[in-house]
């Protein structure tokens, strides 16, 4: 039989988009099979734990992406203000200017939240602490840095919801610009 996919890692971004579009429960194995081009046999070969393992793998990939492209730059860049600015740009790109939802945020509101509690919690908590660290290095005291970081993450998540709900991608870009202003002044 023809080999369709060489690497398990190639499937994960496809799974991510499926979960974004249909949610965890709505992402049936038939949809997954259709969009990945893989039969059930192959899917359970790569993910013996079934849908739950697929979603966990997606969340893990999201986590490493943010660690590499958002959290670590915030913690380690020489210029913290440039790193914060860079974060805002990376976020706009990642969420396709508000046309793409945040899977972790969606899971947090979904009934699967209990199955992925820790991964969801870490995502937001890591983001907050990394951003607060950059803000502190930019001159804010600990309390103010934590407050500003929390506000920014809130604005991102809320902006994604409203942007999606109203069908206005520009809303998200506006919210990000506002958030960046508040972080840098």
């Amino acid at each position: 039989m023809a080999r369709t996919v060489a690497e398990r890692t190639d499937i994960i971004p496809v799974l991510a988009e499926i979960f974004r579009e249909h949610g965890f429960e709505g992402a049936s194995l038939s949809i997954i099979g259709e969009k990945t081009g893989l039969g059930k046999g192959s899917l359970y070969h790569f993910f013996p734990g079934g849908k739950e393992e697929m979603a966990a793998a997606v969340l893990h990939e999201i986590d490493t992406w943010f660690e590499n492209n958002v959290y670590r730059p915030l913690r380690e860049a020489q210029n913290p203000r440039a790193a914060i600015s860079g974060m805002c740009g990376a976020v706009i790109d990642y969420f396709h200017s508000g046309r793409r939802i945040c899977l972790v945020g969606a899971f947090a509101l979904d009934n699967v939240r209990d199955r992925f509690t820790d991964q969801i919690k870490d995502y937001f908590s890591d983001w907050k602490t990394a951003l607060a660290a950059a803000l502190q290095r930019a001159g804010h005291d600990e309390a103010k840095a934590s407050e500003l970081a929390e506000e920014a993450v809130i604005s991102i998540q809320g902006g994604l919801i409203l942007s999606r709900a109203l069908g206005e991608p520009t809303l998200f870009e506006r919210a990000m610009k506002k958030a960046e202003e508040r972080l840098l002044t």
Copy 2:
């Protein structure tokens, strides 16, 4: 047979909590039957359109609640600043200090978003315009009022997500206090 529920309207709040807890797809008819104490026969008697009609009825009830308790007071109260302050209190109560999610926001991220596009859109759009109207009557120009209103609704939705994700109800109260400050200064 014993009559269990007198009014269709009595069931809707129960349905709302079920959808909040399990999502639209996750709210199976067996769960709904169990929590409402109604058999399928009764459920389809009250809601011939099935789950979709149930969810639509819940969204409609939410809309009228916000119209009566949030939007209209914002539009019509003599003292707009007091009305804004009242809105913040009502919102904290309604969402149980962040322990309760916003069903409309959850639907906006879910795969049912396409089935209830208009009701979701109206919810956020009505909220924005009502709050902007109050802000204008409080002295802001149209552009600034619209900007502040959008920011506030964003903070509410984002606050609910983070509060839920991190398991910190105090986060939502903090976000609401911040939002109120920004609206009233």
